[in-house]
């Protein structure tokens, strides 16, 4: 091992403060930084144009293409190693969503576990409705909200509910893409929590397939547990001119699992984003405002007859559990590494 064992000289750091050179004056700027910023703004402009005139890309392929294009813009001029890591990340990202899609499909008919045994398709119909009734003193929150607020004309709160509902298809992906671009460390932290949430949700989709309230009330299905509910989550969007959402949304639903109500990923995703950024928010008021978003989401889901209240609460619990677990694991890793350093120097 080569070490510099020269005789030390003592230097007063304050004496040098006056003529310190900023690093930017010594090291040339990353010339690709400007290119990346320009491309990302261009992407944003095209995305917004697409959103306005073509609709929000919400099916997995369109989302993957848009995320891929954004990453191309954000990683131009980065090192080959960084690109290699990005490819590995992308592979993980794709596997995560494929697993999610596959599990959703499998949940419809029950699942065979390595051909050894089969997890039966035990549809939850009354149990979730009954839990909601216990929580709300004998009332059905979906029915109560629609009785009080649903009108034939679109009101301002329909726009709020619909907009909030649709953010589900954009917000977590947007956060992932931005974190990917600005801090790989934070992207990894976010994805640990996100993929854990998704994995537990998939498990529950298989173990506890649940009829959503719109289905439980529809005359097209044999349940009719509650009064018939209106189901049109996109009408608020159509009202403000975003027709693209509705048609793409129907395509999305045709491939989805209709019984994937428990837990609500809409509610979970609406919590995971503000919860992740909460440590960076200083103001208590802003924190409260950020946490209001998942509350508005759950209220919207119930109003739009997409979910029972308990679906959302379970989703929040899984999100909280994911944060608790990974916060603990990350703290443990830091402490273990510190202990190793202390022991080695002792």
């Amino acid at each position: 091992m080569s070490t510099a064992a020269e005789a030390p000289t003592f230097v007063d750091p304050s004496a040098r403060l006056s003529h310190r050179l900023p690093l930017r004056a010594v090291v040339p700027d990353d010339e690709f930084r400007v290119v990346r910023l320009a491309l990302m703004f261009e992407f944003l402009f095209v995305y917004l144009w697409w959103l306005r005139f073509m609709g929000l890309p919400i099916d997995r392929i369109s989302v993957a293409i848009s995320v891929g294009l954004f990453l191309l813009c954000a990683f131009v001029g980065k090192s080959w190693r960084t690109w290699g890591i990005l490819l590995l990340d992308c592979a993980f990202y794709c596997v995560m969503w494929l697993a999610y899609e596959r599990t959703r499909g499998a949940a419809d008919e029950g699942v065979s576990v390595f051909g050894l045994f089969r997890i039966p398709h035990q549809l939850q119909v009354e149990s979730v409705r009954n839990i909601d009734r216990v929580l709300f003193f004998g009332h059905d929150p979906n029915v109560v909200l629609q009785d009080h607020f649903w009108e034939t004309t679109v009101r301002w709160y329909d726009v709020v509910a619909s907009t909030t509902y649709m953010t589900h298809f954009v917000l977590p992906i947007l956060v992932m893409a931005v974190l990917w671009a600005i801090s790989h460390r934070q992207w990894v932290r976010f994805m640990k929590r996100f993929s854990t949430l998704l994995a537990v949700a998939c498990l529950l989709f298989v173990l506890v397939p649940t009829v959503p309230p719109w289905m439980a009330s529809s005359p097209k299905f044999p349940y009719q547990l509650i009064d018939e509910l209106h189901r049109d989550a996109g009408r608020g969007f159509r009202h403000i001119g975003f027709y693209g959402f509705a048609s793409d949304y129907k395509v999305q639903l045709s491939n989805g699992n209709g019984y994937a109500a428990m837990p609500s990923l809409h509610a979970s995703f609406a919590l995971i984003v503000p919860a992740f950024f909460l440590p960076w928010i200083r103001s208590k008021w802003l924190k409260a405002l950020a946490l209001l978003f998942p509350v508005i989401m759950l209220t919207s889901l119930v109003y739009l007859a997409e979910h029972w209240v308990i679906d959302g609460l379970v989703g929040w619990c899984i999100t909280g559990g994911s944060f608790w677990f990974w916060n603990r694991m990350e703290r443990r890793t830091r402490v273990q590494r510190s202990d190793r350093a202390h022991e080695a120097l002792a």
Binding site: F10, V27, P28, R185, A344
Partner: protein, 130 residues
């Protein structure tokens, strides 16, 4: 930025921590353990240029420097170093490039040359060579 502030452990500091015979070892070890304590509290991130860590052969660096993340030097960093105002000293240039690219504001070093740049140098009262 949303990451905790990064502290770059420069070559002279890494060598002083690793080598018990180094005249700066005690000061380096004391400073390093303080930095490690702050790392454990998630106040800072510890980073080092990967080639500097790679020089410490024969040392179980996974243990001593377990909390230290590597900053990988790529072709673009070497190119920027060659075009920098300190290009005649490739090692100093690479360290400064990595500090600039990774938004490092604090550097742990015993090399007096780093006092000439807009970086907070630790240990503040330590002996420096240069």
């Amino acid at each position: 930025m949303i990451d905790p502030p990064k502290v770059l452990l420069e070559r002279s500091f890494l060598q002083a921590v690793a080598d018990h015979e180094n005249p700066n070892h005690d000061a380096a070890a004391t400073e390093y353990l303080d930095l490690v304590r702050r790392y454990a509290a998630a106040e800072i991130l510890l980073v080092a240029v990967h080639t500097h860590l790679g020089e410490l052969v024969g040392l179980d660096r996974r243990h001593v420097f377990a909390p230290v993340d590597r900053l990988w030097v790529g072709f673009q960093h070497r190119r920027a170093a060659a075009r920098s105002r300190v290009a005649d000293d490739p090692d100093l240039a690479i360290t400064l490039v990595m500090a600039q690219r990774h938004r490092v504001r604090t550097i742990a070093t015993f090399d007096a040359r780093f006092h000439d740049f807009d970086l907070t140098v630790v240990p503040v009262t330590a002996a420096t060579t240069g």
